[in-house]
Symmetry: D2
């Protein structure tokens, strides 16, 4: 009997999942991310030769590592048809099979999320009639399914119909027993409401996933009604993923406080402070944007131009490499420096320090009731629809910079979100835009609700 | 939605699998092994309070860590009824449920392998009617099912019938979609022919596991016909697992060669050389037993009395701690010393060196044909039944010491097995018994077959 | 030739240095700290048997690990004469020698810092007349020498004279070539002005250490004039170090926010928030004490009773174990719980949040000039003597709780120190004492000076 | 006070030592090896900008990493005058100084070992008159000093005189107190009899290093009488180190046994078995060369052409990367594959297996006395001069292949060395040259002497 080896890699924050399956000395990798060392090392440790690199589709939300992984291992890249994708050794059609080390993968055409969408069913060669696993890309997720809005409003119903068919005619027929391995977990921008649970099967989804309980018309109607945001960096990811993995960026350089100060004199840069909102509130370098460490997995895709230098201020020295890796995964390669010794080194030299307010929901309540402080909710539309604080203005974080509050620059303004992370980003954006009296709400709507304060369902967004 | 966290721990060699499931700040551990730090650390990293410790049954093949884990975490131990087991906070009946952090486990009585056998079905609280996972203990494995011979020959049919019912009336009804999580993987002594693959579901087993294709009578007949060995250490494990986890042994002490030589003057000890058979053949300390490092997970249970001191000679310094941990898992706590610098330090002082022969199958063929060298196969009966080298005597390794070949002490004797690991143990046993002209066959029957040499099916064992 | 192996272990924060010297299969450990695994593992990796445990004196500032290390290794504890110390296998006199693996250590009586002070000179056996290394305990440091105030004001001159003699008659005669290995590095409470550099020799100190340039009278006079603080925990350390290493404390338990809230209802506990002052300023749990992570190496010795439970709120999950280890090193063993998810988990449930102000030195300047805000400097007397901000009140942190500012509870008060760490502790102490308008000065006097603001030398302390 | 940070990096086997000194945010690296990640990571962790890369001379025994480190960090390369070295940003003269972060390095011209030899004295800026450390390159070692034979027999006295002057006029005047940091430790090919001890000072060497006790004439005479070998790879290293660090080699590929067998059909390759001699004796792939893992740090420089592919058979999977790194350090970049599963995978397929004998010194004694077995000692001349086994032929390992024993191919021949490592290499060379009856002596002359067997001083070498 041939030992099967199965490994799941998760790019945290992005919630992008890639897989390595090994058997009989050979391996395949599905949807590799840019940091390919993970796959190379895992294969090397087990003396597996990577034979195939499979892509379920041209991902929009992260840089694929396929061509880099091929360059290092000689594996063949296999994917579906997509005339824009310029690389790849084989274009698979529905039913095509790939064999490796006593196992077999069958390609299933599952368009809908994208036109080039493929899924893969995994079989042991001794049991070619019963699928062990299903790699469903962005077609079917635990508790959810892929978004279908990439081809414009006019084609949403068409795409939703294709997705319905892909799920019902290609994936469900694999049988209840098949272990389901999607390309994303909870928190991905590629699907709404994905379950925060990695383990599932086709049969479990059939019973527990609400989308699988709908008939075709309901599915299409609900799917078409879904609101998804389209971060500007998606366009760039598509370009990367049409032409191959960009070369690895150089690591950021250590900068002493005066060196950073000098670098900041140059125009057109970003200074990202990756500390938690409370720390940012307590003191930060003027002009910095407060994107907490893990938020750098996705949020920069909304806020940052890719061609400007980025400087980092982190709470922990180890966060520099982590955040730079996060940024590289979504194509920000110009992380040029980081502050030695963090904010403390800056403050200890008496260099300029700025603040934003950080307030509890209790304090907010008082300030709303007594002082009538302005309040902005920077979450996404689908979050607003589940309830906002009464009177909150709705301005999505991703476009806040170009959609500033219509208020005097010295008016007190509170910014809120789900727990206070994005609120602090929003507060830093307002600060950089000239507002001088800005507060972030610690705990956001989560704490507000926990305190039993009222929420209202907005009629339409700001 | 509450994040579910699932972790599988494998005790290599023993192929014993334990599980930690976390959700909503709480966790359960199923069938913990003796080295409980693995669970404690995993829970601590994720800030999970371990609420329940579950045992699927009183294991025979390793020391359970339940009482030690309880002492450190305060978790409650829940298990089935077994009057001999003196600890435990709750005895579960069929259908009893345990809740933790938004999930639910339901106990299923699945006797057969042992009378106190329980399985557990895992549910999300939002879907109490569809099992996400099934923890099947030693009842159902990937590709196999539990042995049923623990209550004697006379009760094998009865136990097999119970096991059939447990599988068909308790586990299969959970549905194809349930992910199957057994207590053992490939190589375990608790079941024959377990698949070398961790991932499976109830539905996949239903189609791919031959035991699930049998009707009741065939199942019972085939099960009763299975031959399993019963290592003497099982009895000791039962005792440990009735009274609770023994205290952790002290680590072995470093010994310089002269110190080891002095320690070996004391009677009644074991000197285990954990290097590979080729290295042992090339030179070893007289009197040593050649159990390769990983072989110490199980084989000592056949060969060693638990109350004698053990000394180690390892190929790598790091193997000392690994092998001592292996031995502790099966209750050998008297690993008192190890040789500093390994065999090389010994040899470099000109201290006595012994050898066994190591021969390829080609060389064996010649020696058989030309010199009529004696040949002993030390594998297990079920392995012999699939074919042995023509003329090989069959003497199981576990009882070889008391069942020595009937041959002059200076007659050439070759020992063989599957690949040459156990052959070298056998060769070292013969050497220690006074045989002077002993060979181990490198590659064993595996290499023999690969060369196309003939095998025969034995009529009955030696 | 016998390989010599030399390893230095530093307990950060405490700046306590211990040493392991190995040669020819044997090792000695000098001044082991409580976390003895470091020595045991280092010796085990190199197959060294620890033969002797040496103490340069009964340390006052951390828990020694001698008896625990002896229990695990069987090594003999050797130290100088001290009737209060109840353990130890040999009491060494001046000139006594210990041999191990081809090396020799000679004891040198070097009282002054304490009466039982020993130093050790290390020799290769082939060169018994030239010292390779000098282990000088708290007698001589890089750039400094030991404090001499432990026996009271009345004996300072006497002790200083003894120390002078120890240095000049015992250590310097070892020769310029001897590598100097003291028991403390920069930042220790056992000596003032220790160089922030580990590498030195007797000869380098002779030329670069100002204390070695003084004649006897000047030395004694200057030494006697030194001001040192005596933290209350010293007394406890002396007790521990007279009777042996206390058993290891249990690890703290994870607590969800409501569990922590409940635990805090019990009286007589400490809630330590180990985040940086900016984060503490931005939001914290009411009643918490803000001792930044590394500050827990020493500062609790001033502030905490040892018999009360301690709860931790940390910025990083990994800090829990680190801070608990720091606390254990100075004898605080009742770290009973830590907050799962840190402060964010607390805030997200809408639980009570408190703040202190955090201001830059620029802001402080304005607040002093314009609003006449009160200002307290919580540093140590020897720091004040080098200059304070004009008008600052001097109230040492260690006694601040019992020496509160004489001001209305709602008066604005700024607390300052060297860089803002201790200032935040002071601010949290004032907050807990009922002051409602408290600020910590970011960067403290360091930033103040960097901005060119004036400092004054105080006439005498507050 | 500015914290000084000092780190020593040792390339094991080569015993090449490089140093990183950090202070005040800046660092220098002295004599970097090819694997520059060590320096880059150490600097990054401490936020040190590497300002200067210093070379004490053009090393002959390993590939320098200077130009690669410069490319990654922007540091300037500073070294002495050597017209053949084509890179470098500054050529230093005696007395030139470099400042970094509050410290100062002064260049000292110390030719003798090579004409471009520099040493460096390190000073704290506050103490510019007393050297803290001396980086002595290959001029002065612990217990020894550099070889002086690189410019031919005719210039040995001249070079020895220069070295004497360098030591006495440049290094010793730095003072006893200076900590000595040479470029090599024990076992280096760049000096004979280096102490197996890292810690020393100028003053300690003055008293304990025999070479410093000689007057000039004796020094020159003894130095000129030293016999050193000149491995062929030195020439290649000089070339590399004149033109800059070669690009990093690709990692070796995993090969299944049949793939390796096929690769070996190609001519002109090396198959290196890195297991210990006992394992090699017990079974190996025909045609392999038995260079134990760590032996690959130096010995391939004698035996291997650099332009042929190398394949590895290792005892541990982790040894593949280690051995490939060793080989890269001495310029062997064509490590193209390694055997998956090691020798066991090969043997288990019944593929051809070869053996050499491995005998204890006791067995050798008998075989010498009784069977008159031939005996070859493959050590170096300076080792022979201290005694060989009676009647042993002396044929240095490095030239054995071209200097085969004058004996029938089927005559029994034993090969010996110091402990049996090189003996096994020699045995494998003889085997590959067609000798069929070859033995390696376990423990070599070390075990022989430990048994009290006689040794003789050879009159002149074979």
């Amino acid at each position: 009997m041939i030992a099967m080896f199965f490994l799941k890699f998760t790019a945290e924050g992005l919630s992008a999942t890639s897989y390595l399956i090994g058997s009989g000395g050979e391996a395949v990798v599905i949807d590799p991310g840019r940091d390919i060392d993970r796959y190379v090392n895992a294969a090397r440790e087990r003396c597996l030769a990577i034979k195939y690199i499979l892509e379920t589709h041209r991902h929009e939300d992260f840089v694929l590592g396929s061509t880099a992984l091929k360059a290092q291992t000689g594996a063949l890249i296999c994917r579906g048809r997509n005339d824009e994708v310029l690389y790849g050794d084989a274009r698979l059609n529905d039913g095509d099979t790939l064999e490796f080390g006593g196992m077999m993968l069958r390609a299933l055409e599952t368009p809908g999320h994208t036109m080039d969408g493929l899924s893969f069913a995994l079989y042991e060669s001794g049991h070619p009639d019963v699928a062990l696993m299903a790699f469903s890309g962005d077609t079917l997720f635990a508790g959810s399914c892929g978004r279908i809005d990439f081809y414009g409003e006019g084609r949403k119903a068409e795409c939703a119909g294709m997705l319905y068919r892909a799920i019902h005619e290609k994936l469900l027929p694999l049988g209840d027993q098949a272990i389901l391995c999607p390309a994303h977990g909870a928190g991905s921008v590629c699907g709404a409401g994905i379950s925060d649970r990695d383990e599932t099967t086709i049969g479990y989804e059939l019973r527990a996933n609400p989308w699988l309980s709908y008939d075709r018309d309901t599915f299409v109607r609900n799917k078409a009604a879904e609101q998804h945001l389209y971060p500007p960096y998606f366009r760039r990811m598509e370009q990367f993923n049409s032409t191959g993995t960009p070369p690895a960026p150089a690591g950021p350089k250590p900068l002493q406080p005066p060196e950073l100060a000098e670098a900041l004199l140059e125009r057109e840069h970003y200074l990202i402070d990756t500390r938690m909102p409370t720390a940012f509130a307590g003191g930060h370098i003027p002009g910095s944007l407060n994107i907490w460490a893990r938020g750098n997995t996705v949020i920069p895709g909304w806020l940052l131009e890719a061609d400007r230098p980025i400087y980092l201020v982190t709470g922990q020295p180890g966060d520099v490499a982590t955040v730079a890796r996060y940024l590289a995964r979504i194509g920000y390669d110009r992380v040029e420096g980081y502050l030695c010794g963090g904010f403390e080194a800056w403050q200890n030299l008496g260099m300029p320090v700025d603040h934003v307010g950080a307030i509890s929901v209790d304090a907010l309540k008082v300030m709303r009731d007594v002082e009538n402080i302005r309040l902005i909710d920077v979450r996404e539309p689908h979050e607003w629809q589940k309830g906002i604080m009464p009177g909150a203005g709705m301005r999505f974080l991703g476009t806040l910079k170009d959609n500033l509050p219509d208020a005097p620059k010295d008016a007190p303004i509170a910014v809120t979100c789900n727990v206070g992370h994005r609120g602090s980003i929003g507060a830093s954006i307002l600060k950089n835009a000239g507002f001088t009296n800005v507060y972030n709400v610690l705990g956001g709507i989560t704490a507000w609700k926990a305190r039993g304060y009222p929420v209202v369902i907005p009629e339409n967004k700001d």
